[in-house]
């Protein structure tokens, strides 16, 4: 059995490649917030309190554009509701933990950490201390996210318009799923999700981000029924 610290370290190293997109994305998030005219402290507070890149940007964009708080909060809720799915998957490996530990670990669950931990946990599901992987990855992503948004806030207008990173975020997510491309059933689910997201893109509150996965999961459910 691997020690807690070894698994924690593995969590750290597994998410490190994602820093290629997380750091620039964090810098952009900080810089955009200041550019929208928000107080630097407030911009940083979104990283600490909300802690979710896309939802932070949408939140600030909406408020600076004059949208009501209710609209901004609803959008954040809709965009981040995908964490419910991550939680449902991870709960299999975290169910033995105490309630307090569950509450603590939950704060650190983000897309990249979920993706890497999910892969690792599936392969090593006999270990009992797997939550250290979730923690190692999650805390690392948290740390770099905080530092990079603060950098963005400080550098502000010095940041070149886009940093040429429009493709970086989708591409690093592509790296997450690339292994599953060998499995036909997963490819099917991915295509359903991808095309659904293009069709539903204009749905209110950016809800395509949760509606498309739900459509894809219904497709997966249907597919499993036909397989039997």
């Amino acid at each position: 059995m691997l020690s807690n610290s070894k698994i924690f370290l593995r969590g750290i190293t597994d998410v490190l490649p994602h820093m290629l997109s997380v750091i620039p994305f964090g810098i952009i998030t900080g810089a955009i917030g200041v550019e929208f005219g928000f107080d630097p402290l407030l911009v940083y507070a979104t990283s600490l309190i909300i802690f979710g890149g896309a939802s932070q940007i949408i939140f600030m964009q909406l408020l600076s554009g004059g949208a009501s708080s209710l609209v901004a909060i609803t959008s954040v809720g809709v965009i981040n509701s995908r964490h419910l799915l991550y939680g449902a998957v991870l709960s299999e490996y975290l169910e033995k933990l105490s309630f307090i530990k569950k509450l603590f670990i939950s704060y650190f669950i983000v897309d990249q950490g979920f993706a890497e931990s999910n892969k690792y946990l599936k392969k090593n599901n006999s270990q009992i201390n797997l939550h250290y992987h979730v923690l190692g990855g999650g805390i690392t992503l948290w740390f770099f996210w905080q530092i990079s948004t603060i950098s963005g806030i400080i550098l502000g207008s010095f940041i070149p318009e886009e940093l040429g990173l429009k493709f970086a975020i989708p591409l690093t997510f592509l790296a997450i799923v690339v292994n599953d491309l060998r499995k036909l059933d997963h490819v099917f689910v991915m295509l359903v999700s991808g095309f659904a997201s293009l069709i539903l893109f204009d749905a209110p509150f950016k809800s395509y981000i949760i509606l498309s996965p739900l459509v894809a999961l219904i497709a997966a459910f249907t597919m499993l029924r036909f397989k039997k």
Binding site: I49, G77, H83, A88, S91, A115, N118, F167, M190, S193
Partner: protein, 71 residues
């Protein structure tokens, strides 16, 4: 008001992270649901990837003349 919105958004986000881990008992999920959960990564990430690649900021299809193509 903005501070209030940030805090409520934070609570909502944290709830989405915590609910399934801390509040739901896994036995409440049926076998079929657990099976479908295997497809969560395949179902979630393309919804982030596809629009990022195929749409520009205005939500229209990226054209070959779009400078984004050469980035």
């Amino acid at each position: 008001m903005t501070w209030f919105s940030i805090i409520v958004s934070g609570i909502v986000t944290y709830f989405s992270r915590m609910a399934m881990i801390a509040l739901i008992d896994r036995d409440m999920l049926g076998v079929k649901i657990k099976e479908v959960l295997n497809y969560v990564p395949a179902a979630v990430f393309p919804a982030i990837i596809f629009p990022g690649i195929f749409f520009n900021d205005l939500g229209t299809i990226v054209e070959i003349t779009d400078p984004k193509i050469y980035v």
